[in-house]
C-alpha cells in the first residue's frame, strides 16, 4: 500500500485553474510551477518565489506544497536564489475545445458562403435529383425558381417578410400550359363555383359519419379554397426526390382534407354513383335493348345484298359465340380509354344504309319562295313583279311565314332585307300568337314583305349570274359571327358546294327560268326606279327535269331549291345542319335561348329530321347555339374531367366478351320512343343534353367496382378514378 496521492488541505493542495487559456509547459511532465503563465501565454516563473521583507531581512516565500522555505534563502538584493527553468506554456484543454469550436464554426460558415455564393453551388445546394422529365433543367434553377435570380439578402428578406409571396407556379405554367383558364385554383375551377359544390356536398353528407381525424383536420387546416393566389403547384408536386419519384402521387387522405364528404375508403363511405356513366343523354339515339331482343335475331329483314357486319352474322342462332361480343360494334380507341362505335359503315350500314340513300323524301331546302302574303301584297299596293303560284305545302314546309335558316344567312347581306327583317320577325310572331289577322296587312308590313320578295329575287339573280366574287362576299359577312375554326370550315364547305358545284348552278338557273322568266328585266327596272307590278303565274314542272337522286335540284312547283344527300356523312348536309343550328342564335338571341322555340331543323325538311337527326342528337350550348352530335362520345386529349375510366385494363382483367358484367340491360324501360316520335312528327329536337335518354343500359353501381377496387386487391386510390386538374 502507498500513501494517498492527493492532499486537500490548504498548504498541500495547489489551486488548479483549468478554465484559463494557458497552463504551465511542464504540466505534462508533472512539474508545473505554482505561478503559471500570464494571460498572453508567457512564462512568468523566473524564480521559485518572490521573497518578502521582514524587518531588515528578506525571507523565502516558496509555498509549502512546493517545498516550503529553501535552505539558501533570498539573495541580499531581495531576489530569490532558486532559478526556475522557463517553460513554453501550452493551451489548456478547455481553451483547445473553444478554439476547435471556433474553427469548426468558421469552416461551416465558409462552406455555406461558398455553396451559396459560387456559380457552381447549384449542384451542392440542390436538395436532390430531379425527376426524369425535369432532369434537363438540373443546372438551371431559375427555370423553375424565381428566387434563383435573387441574392441571398433578398432570400433572407423574403423569410422575414410576413406578406404572402407570389409563388413559382407561373414558371411551371410556361410549359404546362394546357391546364385550363384558372390552373392554380383548386381543380382549375372558379373558387366560387367550387365553394358552392362544396356546400352542396356538405349539405348532402350525413353528419357525424365522417372519420374523427378528418373532422379534426377540417378544423385545424387552412381551406385551400380561401387561397386568393391559388394553390402552388409545389404543394402537391414535390420535386427533388429522385429520378423515379412519382410527381403526381397523392394520398386518399390528402384528397379528403379538402373534400366535404369525407369517408374511410371507396368501399366504405364513398357516395353511390349518380347514374354513372349516363349523367347526360347519349349522343346517338340507339336502343340497345330493342336491337338485342328484336333486330339481331331476325337478320332476314336485312335487304338483299346488304353487307352484314362480320361480328353480327351469326348472332341470331348463336353459332359463333365471338360474334355476340360488343366488340362487333365497339372497339377500344388508341388510348384504351373509350370504346367508341366502329362507325356507321361497319356497325349500322347493313340495316340502315339504304334508308339514307332512298329518294322517297325530298332533299334539304336551301331556298323557298313561299310567301303567303303575295296576294295580299297586291291589295296593299305592293309591287313585287312576277311571282309564281306554288302548290300547297305539307308538314314543316307549310309554314309560309318562315324563312329557311340558310336563306336567312344569304339574305343577310342584302341591306333592303336587313331593313325589313325586324318587321318580318314581329309579323311572324304575332301570327304565331294569333294576335294578327293573316288577311290584314298594314302599310309597314306590306313594305317589309315587298322588300323581302325583292331580296329573294336579287339573291337568285346574283347567285345565278355566277359572279363568284359577289357571292363569296355574302359569306364574308358571316365571318365576324362565326369566329371559331369549326365555323370557318363550315362556311368553306358551303361556299365550295354553292359556287363550285355544277349541279347547284344548273338547278338554280332552271329554277330562275321557271319561277322568274323575266328576272333580268325586272331587276333592271327595279334598279332604274320602276319596279314592275305584281303578276302571279302558275309554274309548270319542266318536262325534261326530274328530281335528282343526289345533289342539288329545283323542286319547281314547290318553289324550293333542294339538296339530296349522296350518302351517310354527306359533308354538305352536315354543314347545312350545323349552320342551321347556329342561325337562330344569330338572328334572335332571346328566341334561340328559349327551349320551347321551334326547331330550325324542321324547316329544312324531313330529310334532316328523319335521316340525320333521327339518330344524331342535338345539344343546346351555353351560348344558345345548337350543336349536332355527329359522332358518339369521344374524349379530347385536351380536356379532362373529374372522373376517368379506361376500358383497356378492364378488358384484360375481365373476360373480353363479358361486358355485361358492368353494362347490364335495362329491359323495363320504354327507351326514348316518345321523344323519338316527337321529333319525327313534331320536328322538335330535344336539345337538352342532360335529359335522361339512355342507350338501354342500367347505370353502373358502386358495388360493381368495389368487387375488385379495394385496398387489398387492385387498389382504391382516389386518383385511380379521379383527376385533380379539370380543364376543357
Amino acid at each position: 500500500m502507498i500513501d494517498p496521492l492527493q492532499e486537500f488541505d490548504f498548504l498541500e493542495s495547489n489551486y488548479e485553474r483549468p478554465n484559463q487559456e494557458w497552463e504551465c509547459g511542464w504540466t505534462a511532465q508533472g512539474e508545473s510551477c505554482h505561478i503559471g503563465p500570464d494571460c498572453s501565454g508567457t512564462c512568468q516563473a523566473h524564480r521559485e518565489c518572490v521573497p518578502y521583507k521582514d524587518g531588515d531581512r528578506y525571507k523565502c516565500a516558496r509555498p509549502k506544497n512546493f517545498g516550503g522555505r529553501c535552505d539558501l534563502g533570498p539573495r541580499p538584493d531581495g531576489n530569490c536564489s532558486q532559478r526556475v527553468v522557463e517553460c513554453q506554456p501550452v493551451r489548456t484543454l478547455r481553451y483547445r475545445r473553444k478554439l476547435f469550436t471556433f474553427t469548426v464554426a468558421v469552416l461551416a460558415l465558409g462552406s455555406c458562403l461558398i455553396m451559396f455564393g459560387g456559380s457552381w453551388g447549384n449542384s451542392l445546394t440542390s436538395p436532390g435529383e430531379l425527376t426524369q422529365q425535369h432532369k434537363p433543367w438540373s443546372e438551371k434553377c431559375s427555370r423553375c425558381h424565381t428566387a434563383a435570380n435573387g441574392t441571398f439578402a433578398q432570400w433572407v428578406g423574403g423569410v422575414m417578410d410576413p406578406k404572402p409571396k407570389s409563388h413559382d407556379s407561373q414558371q411551371c405554367l410556361k410549359c404546362h400550359e394546357k391546364l385550363g383558364s384558372q390552373p392554380l385554383m383548386a381543380h382549375g375551377m372558379e373558387s366560387e363555383h367550387l365553394k358552392s359544390m362544396r356546400q352542396e356536398m356538405r349539405d348532402a353528407s350525413e353528419p357525424g359519419k365522417q372519420p374523427f381525424v378528418y373532422a379534426l383536420l377540417d378544423k385545424a387546416s387552412r381551406n385551400p379554397l380561401d387561397e386568393k393566389n391559388g394553390l402552388a403547384c409545389a404543394l402537391c408536386h414535390q420535386e427533388h426526390r429522385g429520378q423515379k419519384f412519382d410527381l403526381t402521387q397523392m394520398s386518399n387522405v390528402q384528397c379528403q382534407s379538402c373534400h366535404s364528404a369525407k369517408f374511410h375508403s371507396f368501399s366504405d363511405g364513398h357516395p353511390e354513383f349518380d347514374g354513372f356513366p349516363y349523367q347526360r343523354r347519349t349522343r346517338l339515339y340507339f336502343d340497345h335493348v330493342t336491337h338485342f331482343q328484336v333486330h339481331f335475331k331476325s337478320f332476314e329483314r336485312v335487304k338483299p345484298g346488304a353487307v352484314i357486319p362480320r361480328g353480327l352474322r351469326d348472332y341470331g342462332n348463336g353459332t359463333n359465340p365471338s360474334a355476340q361480343s360488343c366488340r362487333s360494334c365497339h372497339q377500344p380507341d388508341s388510348s384504351g380509354r373509350m370504346m367508341p362505335i366502329r362507325g356507321f359503315e361497319h356497325s349500322c350500314a347493313a340495316c340502315h344504309g339504304a334508308e339514307i340513300e332512298e329518294d322517297a323524301l325530298p332533299g334539304v331546302q336551301l331556298l323557298t319562295l313561299r310567301m303567303q302574303d303575295s296576294k295580299l301584297l297586291t291589295a296593299a299596293g305592293a309591287t313585287i313583279g312576277q311571282w309564281p303560284t306554288l302548290k300547297a305545302g305539307d308538314g314543316a314546309e307549310s309554314n309560309e311565314d318562315s324563312v329557311l335558316p340558310l336563306m336567312e344567312i344569304l339574305l343577310s347581306a342584302d341591306s333592303d332585307y336587313l331593313k325589313a327583317r325586324k318587321d318580318l320577325i314581329q309579323l311572324r310572331k304575332r301570327r304565331q300568337n294569333g294576335s294578327e289577322n293573316p288577311d290584314d296587312l298594314n302599310a309597314q308590313q306590306a313594305d317589309a314583305l315587298q322588300r323581302k320578295a325583292w331580296s329573294i329575287k336579287r339573291l337568285i339573280h346574283r347567285l345565278g349570274t355566277g359572279n363568284k366574287i359577289a357571292n363569296e362576299r355574302r359569306l364574308n359577312y358571316l365571318k365576324p359571327i362565326f369566329k371559331s375554326d369549326g365555323d370557318a370550315a363550315l362556311l368553306q364547305t358551303l361556299s365550295a358546294s354553292l359556287f363550285r358545284d355544277p349541279t347547284f348552278l344548273t338547278a338554280l338557273k332552271t329554277a330562275q327560268k321557271s319561277w322568274f322568266p323575266k328576272l333580268d328585266q325586272e331587276i333592271e327596272d327595279l334598279n332604274g326606279g320602276n319596279p314592275p307590278t305584281y303578276s302571279p303565274f302558275d309554274v309548270q314542272p319542266a318536262a325534261t327535269l326530274k328530281d335528282s337522286s343526289s345533289g342539288w335540284y329545283a323542286s319547281l312547283p314547290d318553289g324550293a331549291l333542294r339538296y339530296r344527300v349522296t350518302g351517310h356523312s354527306d359533308r354538305l348536309v352536315r354543314a347545312i345542319l350545323d349552320l342551321a343550328g347556329r342561325v337562330p342564335h344569330l338572328i334572335d338571341t332571346s328566341a334561340a335561348k328559349s327551349a320551347a322555340g321551334p326547331s330550325p331543323f324542321g324547316e329544312l325538311g324531313p330529310t334532316a329530321s328523319f335521316r340525320c337527326l333521327g339518330c344524331h342528337t342535338v345539344d343546346k350550348q351555353e351560348d344558345g347555339r345548337l350543336a349536332i352530335n355527329w359522332v358518339g362520345r369521344h374524349v379530347s386529349p385536351d380536356s379532362q374531367s373529374f372522373t376517368k375510366f379506361s376500358h383497356a385494363p378492364h378488358l384484360t382483367l375481365l373476360s373480353k366478351n363479358n361486358c355485361s358484367k358492368c353494362h347490364s340491360q335495362q329491359k323495363d324501360i320504354n327507351f326514348a320512343r316518345e321523344e323519338f316520335v316527337s321529333f319525327r312528327e313534331m320536328f322538335r329536337a330535344n336539345t337538352n343534353p342532360h335529359s335522361t335518354l339512355t342507350s338501354g343500359f342500367a347505370p353502373i353501381s358502386k358495388k360493381t367496382c368495389t368487387e375488385c377496387h379495394t385496398s387489398q386487391r387492385v387498389g382504391d386510390s382516389c386518383l385511380k378514378c379521379h383527376n385533380y386538374h379539370i380543364f376543357k
Partner: protein, 274 residues
Amino acid sequence: MRSLAARRWYSLGVFALLAAVILALYAILSFSIHPTSFASGWTLWGLILALAAYNVRKRLTFLPLGSSSKWLQVHIYGGLLSFVLFIVHVEFRVPSGAFELSLTLLYFIVFFSGLGGLAISRAIPARLTTRGEEVLFERIPKFTKRIRDDVENIVLGCISETQTTAIPEFYVEHLKHFFDGPRHFWQHLFQSSRPRNDLLGEIRSHERFLNKDERAAVQRIIDLICAKDDLDHQYALQWTLKVWLFAHIPFTYALVIFSVFHLVLAHAFAGGSE
C-alpha cells in the same frame, strides 16, 4: 423532492407525451395538402437553439435562470425530442443533395455525440469510484511523476543496497515506459485489467531469481504499479468525460449555421408551398 427514479419516470413520461403529440400532429397534418416540413422545421430549429442555449446558460451563472441540473434534464429530453422532430421533418426518408446531406450528417454527429455523452456521463462517474483514488484530472501528471520518482528511488536504492542490477535492468526494460506517462487508455476505457496483470505476471516470473531485499523492493514496486495503473484508469475515464464535448459543442455551432442557411433556402425555393 422527488427521488431520482421518480424524477426519471416523470421526465420520460413528459418526453413520451410530447413525442406522441408530435407524431400525432404530423399524422394529422400530413393528411392536408400543405407540407408539414415547414411547421416541423421551424419547431426543430427553435428546439435546437434552445438546446444550444444550455452552453450559454452555463456561462451566465449569475442570472437566476434555474438550476443547471434542471437545464441539463431539459437539454437531455429536449435532445431526444429533437430526434423525433428531425425524423418527422425529413419525413422518414434519407435526404438527398450535398447540402441537405451535410446538414443531416451534422445533426447526427451532434445528436449521437450527445447521446454518447449522456451514456458516458452516466456510466463513468460510477466507475471512477470503483478503482484507486479519485484525483483531479489536472493533477494526474503530477501524481504520475511522484510515483515515477518513487519507483526510480527504489530502483536506485537496489543498486546501492544489493549491488545487483537485476531490478534496474528489469525497470529499464519493462517498467520505464509504463511509468513515463498515461498508458493503456483503451483497455481502461473498456475495463480490461489485462495489461496490469501481464505486467505483474512478468515481475512475479522474475521474483524467484531475487534475494530477500530485492523481493522487498519488488513488492514496493508492485504497489506503485497498481497505484499507477489506477491513476491511468482515472486518466482514461476523466479524459473521455471531457473530450466527448469536442464533438458535441463545435458541431452544434456548425449545425446552427447550416440550419440558418437551410431555413433561408427552403423558404426562398419553396415555390409557394409554405
